[in-house]
């Protein structure tokens, strides 16, 4: 997994909480910084793709590892 600046553990949370928490975390970050999100909700894979498309925050990486989903999002 590439470098990141902030981390958000949304494990155990269900839709739409991972997205809402990520949005909040990104709001407190500077443009260009990268947020690493960890989630267990399988729906979050499609949700973070859609979130990225609609908000312009780039989804750099999305992968499953050890039963958890990991996302890297760069703040626009």
């Amino acid at each position: 997994m590439a470098d990141f600046d902030e981390e958000l553990d949304a494990s155990g949370l269900n839709c739409p909480l991972p997205i809402l928490r990520a949005k909040k975390a990104l709001a407190g970050m500077d443009s260009g910084k990268v947020l690493h999100i960890i989630a267990t909700d399988p729906g979050s894979v499609k949700d973070f793709e859609a979130f990225s498309k609609q908000t312009g925050n780039e989804l750099i990486e999305s992968k499953e590892e050890g039963g958890k989903f990991h996302f890297l999002i760069r703040k626009a």
């Binding site: 949370l13 269900n14 739409p16 909480l17 997205i19 809402l20 949005k23 908000t55």
Partner: protein, 159 residues
């Protein structure tokens, strides 16, 4: 790019039906939408400071019950005293165990994200409700006020 707008009319006041307006409202706000929710009739219950929302299997043949009970339980049994309280408590436990947010939490997230809440003035008067029982930041207004926003919205839904 102009900000997209979502207008929602929330008309129901049970625990299950409290979710759609707050989930969609908060998510849309996170995606950059401007959001207004117009609460009318039983939907006004969702604005109370102290929420006492319930769910009932009565009259809802689609409601899953523990152990598949809904397949054989006579409808009359779902009307017995205490059933509503039991099902509400079970539903809340199930939601917590699955990491589903509480209504209070989703409502707060909506307000933090500047989702605007409008209470239908007519229903408030009809039911003799006291607006001081509502959470802060509620606007009291009528149908014409809703259309001022809904008329320009990209998505408008009735829940």
């Amino acid at each position: 790019m102009e900000q997209k707008k979502l207008a929602i009319i929330a008309t129901k006041g049970s625990l299950d039906w409290a979710y759609p307006p707050f989930i969609l409202g908060s998510t849309a706000a996170a995606l950059g939408y401007e959001v207004e929710i117009f609460f009318t009739f039983y939907g006004l219950q969702l604005l109370k400071k102290k929420l006492d929302l319930k769910v009932t299997p009565l009259g809802n043949p689609a409601m899953p019950m523990p152990g598949g009970m809904e397949k054989w339980m006579p409808v009359l049994v779902t009307a017995l005293p205490g059933m509503e309280a039991i099902m509400t408590s079970m539903m809340k436990k199930q939601m917590a165990s699955k990491g589903v947010a509480s209504i209070e939490e989703l409502r707060e997230l909506c307000q933090e994200a500047d989702v605007r809440f409008i209470a239908c003035n007519m229903t408030v008067e009809l039911f003799d409700m006291d607006p001081s029982d509502f959470i802060d930041g509620i606007e009291l207004a009528g149908a014409a006020r809703f259309f001022e926003f809904a008329g320009d919205s990209d998505i408008c839904m009735y829940i």
